[in-house]
């Protein structure tokens, strides 16, 4: 495992192009595009203000930089560095900007969710979509880029509009049976749209592409409901994480619950392996530590070493009791992710912030539990292999695979603390983002089995 040198970045803006060739980072108001392999700077663009949002177009030819405070969006071309595009939303304001899947349109959401403006880079045409709903996930594009689902709110009722992204033709428009719609999400095959209600009511509605209601699922009533939702890449399973600290898995044929995964404070599932991160402080005054070692170790001297230990069952997981009287209590399954091969599901329960749970989707049971020393910030699956990377806001990177678990010290100077991790689309490298820096981590393809003990 190798690490690149550290680069600067701001606002955690660092994206790899969809084709995996370029790495774009933002430093204040500058946009830097590098070659992923050589890390040489290819282009340098200067925007009008500090960049708040940045996004690659789907064809990796354009980069969108949004400056929300100014209501500005600037687009840069990789092929033609001289080409420019500047979209000014004017006094109406801007809260969100994104590419359409074709990479030739930009969708801007104005302040107060007044409307969604669709700017075309091909023609002068500007389209407006009124009544977008301000919610958790109001817009979703299908995986193939054909359709867009948009949550709307009219006359105190929720609607979903399905657009054809090609020409923004409104394909379907239907009312949903929700009190307060919280989000919409396409299944990866683009045929089923999952719509869920706000946390006040546990309700998931499944709509076909043509607007038919396929099924409704509600696990319980009178309690805080859904917190997160995730489709498996095969569209076979829909995982619903809720405030009752459970994940329910629905199947794609009957849309009934297949199983539910509990997140107990005491783990006594004999089929699960519990990895516990154990920290070891390096002994500073030990005689075997020569001066040379001191120099080579450098900054890591002040960092603690850590390793994983397999705990004998049963294991008591640290639980932080949430304050249930306050809004958005820190309890319930807030993030879930399926591995690319559909085999594993990683979840995190907010009341056990230090723990990541890995579930086996073939066996439909708990497979592994990673208990970290500090709260897990972010976890992501390798897009190619069943490999999970996670970080906890310290100078270490953690990897899990079915073979085992490993913690890697990031040998960067100056207290590099990993805030989030992103996989390169090839799965060969990882981008580690610190507060103001970033660093690339290269997986040695041939030796990865040795690294993961």
């Amino acid at each position: 495992m190798n690490f690149s040198e550290v680069f600067k970045q701001s606002n955690q803006l660092c994206r790899v192009s969809p084709d995996g060739k370029y790495l774009a980072t933002c430093v204040q108001y500058r946009l830097v595009v590098r070659d992923v392999n050589t890390l040489q700077i290819l282009h340098l663009y200067t925007c009008l203000d500090q960049i708040v949002h940045m996004e690659w177009s789907s064809d990796s030819l354009f980069i969108l930089c949004a400056m929300y405070k100014r209501g500005l969006v600037q687009v840069w071309s990789l092929e033609q560095p001289d080409w420019y595009c500047k979209i000014d939303e004017g006094s109406i304001g801007l809260v969100s900007s994104r590419w359409s899947p074709d990479g030739r349109h930009i969708l801007n959401t104005t302040e107060f969710h007044l409307r969604v403006t669709v700017w075309s880079l091909c023609t002068k045409a500007v389209s407006y979509i009124k009544y977008p709903k301000a919610c958790q996930k109001g817009i979703d594009f299908s995986r193939d880029g054909c359709y867009m689902a948009l949550a709307e709110r009219r006359d105190c009722r929720d609607y979903v509009s399905v657009f054809v992204c090609d020409d923004w033709h409104l394909l379907r428009h239907f009312e949903t049976e929700t009190q307060d719609l919280a989000g919409v999400e396409w299944s990866p095959n683009g045929c089923v749209l999952a719509v869920w209600d706000s946390c006040l009511e546990y309700k998931v509605l499944l709509y076909s592409l043509d607007g038919r209601l396929l099924s409704t699922f509600s696990a319980y009533e009178w309690s805080l409901g859904i917190k997160s939702l995730a489709w498996s890449p095969s569209s076979q399973f829909l995982a619903i994480g809720s405030y009752d600290e459970k994940v329910r898995i629905l199947n794609h044929i009957t849309w009934k619950k297949v199983t539910e995964f509990d997140h107990p404070a005491t783990i006594n599932n004999t089929k699960a392996v519990v990895y516990k991160e154990v920290e070891r402080k390096p002994v500073v005054g030990s005689p075997d530590l020569s001066i040379q070692q001191h120099i080579t170790m450098g900054s890591t001297l002040f960092n603690t070493q850590s390793k994983y230990e397999i705990c004998p069952l049963p294991v008591q997981v640290p639980v932080v009791k949430p304050d249930l009287d306050r809004a958005n209590p820190k309890v319930g399954v807030s993030s879930m992710a399926f591995s690319s091969d559909n085999r594993y599901l990683a979840t995190k329960n907010d009341s056990m912030a230090c723990v990541v749970w890995v579930w086996d989707m073939q066996r439909l049971g708990l497979l592994a539990v990673l208990e970290q020393t500090s709260a897990v910030r972010c976890f992501q699956w390798d897009p190619r292999r069943p490999r999970l990377a996670l970080c906890t806001g310290n100078a270490k990177l953690y990897l899990w695979s079915p073979a085992g678990c490993v913690s890697v010290q990031v040998p960067a100077e100056g207290g590099f603390q990993v805030q989030s991790v992103t996989w390169h689309c090839s799965g060969d490298s990882l981008i580690l983002l610190g507060k103001e820096q970033l660093c690339l981590c290269y997986m040695e393809v041939g030796e990865e089995e040795d690294d993961i003990k």
């Binding site: 064809d59 979209i87 091909c122």
Partner: protein
């Protein structure tokens, strides 16, 4: 009573007649009967003294008056007045004795009766008074109780009243609480409806505002709202954009349905594959079931099974063919039918087979149980096993018993060690039950003891013989001495000389005999033996010193073990010792002769006692 006394004292001074009338008044029987017990008792005491008075009542002079008076009295009492009569009213005054005696007797009888009845009544009265007292006490007690109960009752009533009051207040509060709850619920409901209403209103307002804002923005023609592009780009797919027409719309619809359809088809295919897999599994299951069941089945059954199997397999083929066919509607329908058909058949046959397998299994189960039972009942192989088991059980029991025994022994040992038992018998008992070895040893010892005792008995016998002989000898010696003294006396010329001689001689003899006595307590046994030997060599000294030193002698001979040491020894030893001393007291005169044998015996004995002590 006081009055009576006064009359009695006064009586001698007053005339007889008057007195008699007074006494009559006083002494009337009816009056007497009515007296209280206390009065009566005093009357009884009075009767003696009154006799003296009565004797004064009849004097030499007034005999006729007295008799007449008596007669009158008797008449009034209902006796025949003729009974007592003066034989001659005047002059010669005498009593007709027989009737008078009869009268007296009757009077006495009456008196006794009355006394008895009086006594009875007295006791009865006592009884009744005590009963009355008792009743009074119980009455008072009951009254107290009644009071108490009344008080209690009033208290209870009070508490009940209080509780009722409390209950009432609680009920009231409950009612108010319920009302409160209802009110709150209604408030909540109204609030909820109000909230939703407000929310809707606000939302409408906000949408209106948004609308307005939008309108304003549109009207204002925001100059800034613009896109500044260097040059427009071509579409990503390279095509030109199309006009929005109905055709396009239809195309979109078509595309959508196509994608949906393809998705469904894909899913169906997957399901088909799964179905086929499941069917295969079912088939295999069936085949295996058939193969399991068929060897024992009759031919016809097997044929049937084969038949069904063949049919099912043909169905499967059919299904497979179908799946390979192109996917058009009609074919779909046909396949569905065939699928259903095949499924029905398959499931039916599987069910049948399963039933058969189940029954077979049940039969096997019952057979197995039957076989087990029969084996248990009559199997010859099992008999020795049973015996063996019994034996094992017995042995286990024995082992357990032995263990228990050992444990109790250990406990006893511990007990003994912890608290040395001074009771000889219990100690012996404990020793007995301590171990078998101990018992054996004890028995051995007992045997030894017996032997010793026999020896001693023999020895004692010898002693008695010797004592008798010694007695004879002593007699002879006394006689000799008397003779010798007589001779001496006769030989002496002067009395003084003889006297001095005799006095000087006796102290010498005494001093010789007292010497060993003085030494015995201070010197060791062996030494004293030799000394005593020398000392006892003169028979005269032995006779003199014998009486006081018997115990000492026995001590020296170890016949009497020390008190301290004997205390640990067995009780039998003690008893034996006692008997020994008794015997030896009898034998005191003869001890010098048998000292040697004695010593031997004692040494053996002391050894034994030492052993005893050790044990």
């Amino acid at each position: 009573m006081g009055d009576w006394w006064t009359t009695a004292t006064i009586e001698p001074s007053i005339e007889n007649h008057e007195i008699s009338s007074i006494s009559r008044m006083r002494m009337s029987p009816s009056r007497h009967h009515n007296n209280l017990p206390t009065m009566h008792s005093s009357a009884m005491t009075l009767s003696k003294s009154s006799y003296n008075v009565l004797s004064a009542f009849c004097t030499e002079e007034n005999v006729p008056q007295c008799t007449s008076y008596i007669n009158q009295e008797m008449d009034s009492l209902g006796f025949s007045s003729a009974c007592i009569e003066a034989s001659s009213p005047e002059g010669s005054w005498g009593l007709n004795t027989v009737p008078a005696l009869n009268m007296m007797y009757e009077l006495l009888q009456m008196h006794r009766r009355s006394q008895r009845s009086l006594q009875e009544q007295e006791t009865e009265q006592l009884k009744s008074s005590s009963a009355l007292e008792h009743l009074q006490i119980t009455n008072s007690r009951l009254k107290d109780q009644l009071e108490l109960y009344k008080r209690e009752k009033s208290g209870l009533l009070e508490t009940e009243r209080q509780l009722q009051l409390k209950n009432k207040t609680l009920q009231n509060s409950l009612k108010t609480e319920k009302d409160e709850v209802q009110k709150l619920q209604s408030i909540i409901a109204s609030r909820a409806s109000q909230y939703s209403h407000d929310a809707k209103r606000k939302e409408r307002e906000s949408t209106k505002l948004k609308e307005r804002l939008n309108q304003l923005l549109v009207d204002k023609r925001d100059k800034k709202l613009a896109i500044d592009v260097l040059s427009y780009l071509g579409r990503a797919d390279g095509k030109r954009s199309q006009w929005k027409t109905g055709k396009v719309e239809a195309r979109h619809e078509g595309e959508m349905y196509k994608s949906l359809l393809s998705d469904y088809e894909g899913r169906q295919r997957a399901l088909m594959l799964e179905n086929v897999e499941l069917k295969k599994v079912l088939q295999q299951m069936k085949r295996e079931m058939v193969s399991i069941l068929s060897p024992r089945k009759s031919c016809s059954r097997g044929d049937r099974a084969e038949d069904s199997l063949e049919r099912a397999s043909s169905d499967r083929e059919e299904v497979g063919d179908c799946s390979k066919e192109t996917l058009d509607q009609s074919c779909d329908h046909a396949r569905d039918q065939s699928c259903e058909h095949a499924r029905e058949q398959l499931t039916n046959s599987i069910r049948q087979q399963w039933r058969r397998l189940k029954s077979h299994m049940e039969k096997l189960d019952s057979q197995a149980s039957l076989v087990q039972q029969s084996q248990q009942c009559a199997g010859k192989e099992l008999v020795p096993r049973q015996i063996h088991e019994e034996e094992m059980e017995r042995m286990r029991l024995e082992v357990q018993q032995c263990k228990d025994f050992i444990q109790t022994q250990q406990q006893l040992l511990q007990q003994q060690l912890n608290s040395p038992c001074y009771d000889d018998e219990t100690a012996a008992l404990l020793n007995d039950c301590y171990t078998l070895e101990e018992k054996e040893r004890l028995k051995e010892e007992w045997r030894l003891f017996d032997e010793q005792r026999r020896n001693f008995e023999r020895e004692r016998h010898n002693f008695t013989d010797a004592a008798i002989r010694l007695g004879h000898e002593k007699k002879a010696f006394e006689e000799d001495r008397a003779l010798w003294l007589k001779n001496q006396f006769l030989n002496m010329t002067t009395f003084v000389d003889h006297k001095r001689h005799s006095t000087s001689e006796t102290p010498r003899a005494l001093s010789v005999s007292s010497e060993p006595e003085m030494r015995i307590p201070s010197t060791p046994a062996m030494l004293t033996k030799s000394r005593t030997y020398t000392a006892f060599s003169t028979p005269k000294a032995a006779s003199d010193a014998g009486m006081p030193s018997t115990a000492d002698l026995y001590r020296t001979l170890c016949l009497i073990p020390d008190r301290s040491s004997s205390s640990v020894g067995s009780s039998k030893q003690g008893r034996w010792q006692e008997s020994n001393t008794i015997h030896s007291r009898e034998d005191t005169p003869v001890r010098s002769k048998h000292r040697h044998g004695d010593g031997d015996c004692c040494s053996i004995f002391s050894l034994g006692s030492e052993e005893n002590r050790l044990n």
